[in-house]
Symmetry: C2
């Protein structure tokens, strides 16, 4: 490798890429990662741990984790041979894009949205077509999306959208799927908070791929688990880019037990939805805050203050939120996760203090 820089071996598209990063902050009230603040009950955790202690750690997980796939099929109503599980849904996004994208191929993605789609597509040297949300209400631009879908190899729709909380209307989604040249990847990371799913379209649309995660409503962000539902012919192709043994024995045990006992999560989810509505209504009474209606477990707000300044002012009061002002269209915006009622109150007090509205 004489006379070359070590990074000459790296593809130029990758070298130009900024990595996905998140600066670490410690705070009393952590409202920055859309996590579920209601921890799983200790007795359920003990069941998981007991199951793991009975299993050999030195042996690979099953090649196909049949038990958890069966459980997910029962939960979702979708067929077992159309389900893949992943180390978080991120891995399944990566696998889906790996089998569909490359130079000369393209991904269409609404903007702003979850950044990982674009980052991965770029690493794969694919073209990324940004489909801007409607700038005023940050809703999906359905016509532009349908137009982009007609000529793209993959269209991704995060629904509800992160970081805006916006839903794509089911009829509009059906139009996108019917007009798409390639795959439509619907990322339903937050669907438990919206109650809306694209699942009913799956049977008649073999180009649809639906993603779910256990990191949000299912309170398992630390354990990394996601699943994908698609036509078996598509699942079989995406499978080829998924790592073998991608989900470990601990996460498999936890996912099985959590799905079996998912009633324990219903109260937490209802409470978070109720709190989202309360926080939204509260913020709507503040003349200096614009809050965007959300169907996820977070709200997006815009104020007159520079986002960094407001972020710092909240942080000084022990409240950590996400500064999303660098995203397209999101000038002066912050994303705030819905936490426990007392955490949400802390946030409301902190923003009043910061904006001097009370």
């Amino acid at each position: 490798m004489q006379g070359r820089s070590p990074s000459d071996a790296i593809k130029p598209e990758v070298r130009r890429l900024s990595p996905y990063t998140l600066k670490h902050f410690e705070a009393d009230v952590k409202l920055d990662q859309n996590e579920n603040p209601y921890e799983l009950p200790l007795d359920l955790k003990r069941q998981v741990v007991d199951r793991v202690l009975r299993r050999p750690w030195g042996r690979y997980p099953e090649f196909v984790p049949a038990a958890v796939i069966k459980t997910l099929a029962k939960l979702s109503g979708w067929r077992e041979d159309g389900i893949l599980v992943g180390n978080g849904s991120n891995e399944l996004i990566q696998a889906t894009l790996t089998v569909t994208l490359g130079p000369g191929r393209s991904l269409a993605a609404p903007q702003p949205t979850f950044t990982l789609y674009k980052l991965m597509a770029t690493a794969l040297e694919a073209k990324v077509v940004d489909v801007l949300l409607n700038p005023e209400g940050l809703t999906f631009d359905v016509d532009a999306l349908v137009q982009a879908a007609r000529s793209s190899d993959v269209v991704v729709v995060c629904c509800p959208n992160n970081p805006t909380g916006t839903l794509l209307d089911p009829d509009a989604l059906a139009v996108v799927v019917s007009n798409a040249k390639g795959l439509v990847l619907v990322d339903e990371a937050y669907y438990e908070f919206s109650g809306q799913t694209a699942l009913s379209l799956l049977g008649n649309h073999p180009n649809l791929v639906v993603l779910r995660t256990f990191s949000k409503a299912m309170a398992m962000a630390g354990l990394r688990f996601g699943y994908l539902m698609a036509h078996p012919a598509i699942a079989q192709e995406i499978y080829k880019a998924k790592l073998p043994y991608n989900v470990n024995i601990f996460t498999l045990a936890a996912a099985e037990i959590v799905v079996e006992k998912r009633a324990v999560l219903s109260d937490a989810i209802s409470k978070l939805i109720e709190e989202r509505e309360r926080v939204t209504a509260e913020l709507q009474t503040r003349p200096l805050v614009r809050v965007f209606p959300s169907k996820a477990n977070f709200v997006l707000i815009r104020t007159q203050k520079p986002a960094r300044e407001l972020f710092d002012a909240l942080f000084k009061q022990g409240v950590l939120v996400r500064d999303v002002s660098a995203y397209p269209l999101l000038e002066r915006c912050l994303r705030v996760t819905i936490g426990l009622p007392e955490e949400n109150n802390r946030f409301l007090e902190a923003i009043d203090q910061a904006l001097e509205t009370r």
Copy 2:
């Protein structure tokens, strides 16, 4: 998607690919996946589980798992900013190939070797250059490897090689690394059984990437953990294709504790090496068996019987091994993991029975 088949959205290179699969067999004596049969001690497992029970499961793992990286830096002597951790080393292979390969780029890989390199490179539409081992002794063809390295974007060397157990001499590796046009990925999945590592070359060769796993000697195949060591400039680029939060809180806790207490594994590793030598010597006394000298925790054997027939005959006696006869150069070959002494005896008895040598 009118009039098209659902898999039209998938890249043709992927559609042509056979997935990585492993047929599931239940057997008394499991010698098919190069696992460590000595389980971690129960008190160590309880420490891991206790640590995990004290952590919130609903919160994402740290963005950069600093504690485990620090521990690995201490263990290896390599710098923290040149270490990445993965969901098994498979994920780090995938990330390394993603940032270096694409159409018009090439991977050189000895054949036969671990199949995942070629599978992933093909999914990325890269060209794969097979560098055959010397057909007689199944040793590396150093001249051919150096030649291939001169014109390839990545050369991968699994060392000891799976499924042959062969080592590449350190001087030969240094020549490969010095002559390589691009990256040299040395997969040291089995290095604890050989004692040989490429680590000392890392300081002077920024195009070298060294991979390790906790799935073999470290007895954590069920937990999925691997790490990568490289020049920080290279690690930083590979990082971009690694998933965020790729290692979960359970595996992070286990990796930290296992490294701290790795003395508990030394006896198991010594015993497996001793058994490898004993099994090899035993097999050498069988005129109908050729055994290839191995520096890993498995041996490769060749007999006159068709591999499938011998596999079945062993399986009927409760001994599960790996039929590797479909690999290039490995006609009539089986790969046999070194197990507990009594398991190895069961294998030796079973093969004698099958070959009617006693």
